[in-house]
């Protein structure tokens, strides 16, 4: 009798399923968050109510529990939606659904055979939001909210490793805003910050979601373009150059600033084995772009 009360009072969802994955028990927590009462769902397949669970991973987990008697740990990091419930807290607003960790384990008879399995569902939305915050802090630049140098360098190493193994091409662009020091001197550092933030926003929009755009330091930015040959990288760089050239940066109503950007492009080839190699190559091209009068794209390929 007391056990029955605990079953309904604990702050986790408990579901008991039979071998056909029909619901046997559905505790109060599940009733509250699903708006489905135990009377309605009992005896019916869990998939009738949650077709999103009829997947390879969920079936795989249940089958392994029935055959091996092990416990499956389904984490929110791998499985974004288990039971699509609304988040409970009014203060965590970055997720549309409650983040859940779910444990699936066996329930045994007296003779040790497994006749049922249990699902234990915990709300980990708050923890997931902290995780996301921590990850962002470690990988994003505080001012521009694009990736930081550390993340960029890790990704660049991975990309070089991948390219060594599978021989796929990727390109790198290094950007340097022309005469940025003059902006700071003339309009102040807050205006400079505004330029950096807006520049990052404009460039991000012109890139693809697979590109990794980062602030390298000061007014220098860089971008990894996976699966991109040199010619295509130059086209993308030129598109960015034109967009920046024609943009009027409106810091304040009466402070409108124009800037231009110089870019160096390099593409992986058989002589490049480290991240320093490919950065140096793009850097040299960037230097050429500066010395040839700025506001232009130079690719390492043209002078090699």
């Amino acid at each position: 009798m007391i056990y029955e009360q605990i079953f309904h009072m604990v702050n986790v969802g408990i579901v008991i399923l039979d071998v056909d994955l029909k619901v046997v028990k559905w505790n109060k927590w599940m009733e509250i968050h699903s708006n489905i009462s135990c009377d309605i769902i009992a005896g019916k397949s869990i998939f009738d109510f949650y077709p999103n669970l009829d997947t390879k991973w969920f079936n795989r987990s249940c089958k392994s529990v029935f055959s091996f008697g092990n416990t499956a740990f389904l984490t929110h990091k791998l499985y974004k939606t288990i039971f699509p419930f609304k988040p409970v807290s009014s203060f965590v607003t970055i997720f549309d659904n409650m983040c859940q960790d779910c444990i699936v384990g066996p329930l045994r008879n007296e003779d040790k055979t497994i006749e049922y399995l249990y699902l234990m569902v915990s709300d980990v939305t708050k923890m997931a939001s902290y995780e996301k915050k921590l990850l962002d802090m470690g990988s994003k630049d505080g001012l521009t909210n694009i990736y930081n140098r550390k993340y960029f360098e890790t990704k660049l190493e991975e990309e070089i490793e991948r390219s060594n193994r599978y021989k796929n091409k990727f390109s790198l662009i290094i950007f340097d805003i022309d005469f940025f020091k003059k902006v700071n001197d003339k309009y102040g550092h807050l205006a400079g910050d505004y330029i950096l933030k807006t520049f990052a926003k404009i460039v991000s929009k012109l890139l693809r979601s697979s590109d990794i755009f980062a602030r390298y330091g000061g007014e220098e930015f860089c971008c990894i373009l996976p699966e991109t040959p040199n010619e295509l990288a130059v086209i993308i760089a030129e598109r960015i150059r034109k967009e920046i050239e024609k943009t009027l940066f409106e810091y304040k109503k009466d402070t409108k600033i124009r800037i231009t950007v110089s870019q160096g492009v390099s593409t992986i080839n058989k002589n490049i084995t480290t991240k320093t190699d490919i950065i140096n190559l793009a850097d040299k091209a960037l230097y050429k772009a500066k010395s040839r009068g700025r506001n232009q794209v130079v690719t390492a390929q043209t002078y090699l």
Binding site: S67, F68, T71, T75, T81, G105
Partner: protein, 213 residues
């Protein structure tokens, strides 16, 4: 390593354990391929007793720690208790995502990067659970499991399997190598039985032996 403790198990008991492991691993790999679409090949296990103090040294000697080394650890509790260690000496992210079918998940991913550690934890959970599950079936018992944890040499500094156990205790190590069919991925699976369960294990092995006499 500590050969003087070898008499904990009689030769007969060791032979039975070897046989049980062979049957259990055979059953585990068969069911993994039938039910979960994981095609794994496990080698004939090697069994030895090791003092817990020497366990880290033993693991260190087995593998050459690289940037891509990953170790998944899962503890299990019951009459039979200990830990499973699944060791990938050198695996890269592109290989990891091919291990299990994630085609119908919606989740790779809000973290904007593939959660490789989570995938390995799931693999570890399945492989360790399958092997331990089949061994415990044969020994007529069952265990419960802790959530698996992962050691990744690019983020953790060191591992210490002996840190949380008494230094003078002996463990039983069952070592096997595994490969995934059609994939260039191999590793080591260590199943450690702690000496709390030795008395029970010896009885269970004798009982298993009797049933075949």
């Amino acid at each position: 390593m500590n050969t003087d403790k070898n008499e904990i198990f009689t030769q007969d008991q060791k032979d039975v354990l070897q046989e049980i492991m062979n049957i259990a691993f055979g059953n585990a790999t068969a069911e993994l391929s039938e039910i979960i679409d994981i095609y794994v090949v496990l080698s004939v296990p090697d069994i030895k007793t090791i003092n817990s103090e020497n366990l880290d040294l033993y693991v260190n000697n087995l593998i050459d720690l690289k940037k891509n080394t990953k170790i998944i650890e899962q503890k299990f509790f019951g009459e039979y208790n200990g830990a499973g260690l699944l060791i990938f000496p050198d695996i890269n992210n592109d290989e990891i995502v091919t291990l299990l079918d994630y085609s119908d998940t919606d989740s790779i991913d809000y973290l904007e990067q593939v959660p490789v550690n989570e995938i390995l934890i799931e693999i570890g959970n399945i492989l360790i659970g399958a092997c331990i599950g089949k061994i415990t079936d044969l020994l007529d018992t069952y265990v419960t499991y802790s959530p698996p944890d992962i050691f990744s040499s690019d983020t953790s500094n060191k591992f210490c399997f002996s840190c949380n156990t008494d230094k003078d205790k002996t463990g039983l190590v069952m070592k096997t190598t595994f490969t995934f069919n059609g994939k260039n991925i191999e590793g080591l699976l260590l199943l450690l039985a702690s000496n709390d369960s030795f008395d029970w294990l010896k009885k269970a092995l004798d009982k298993f032996m009797e049933s075949y006499l």
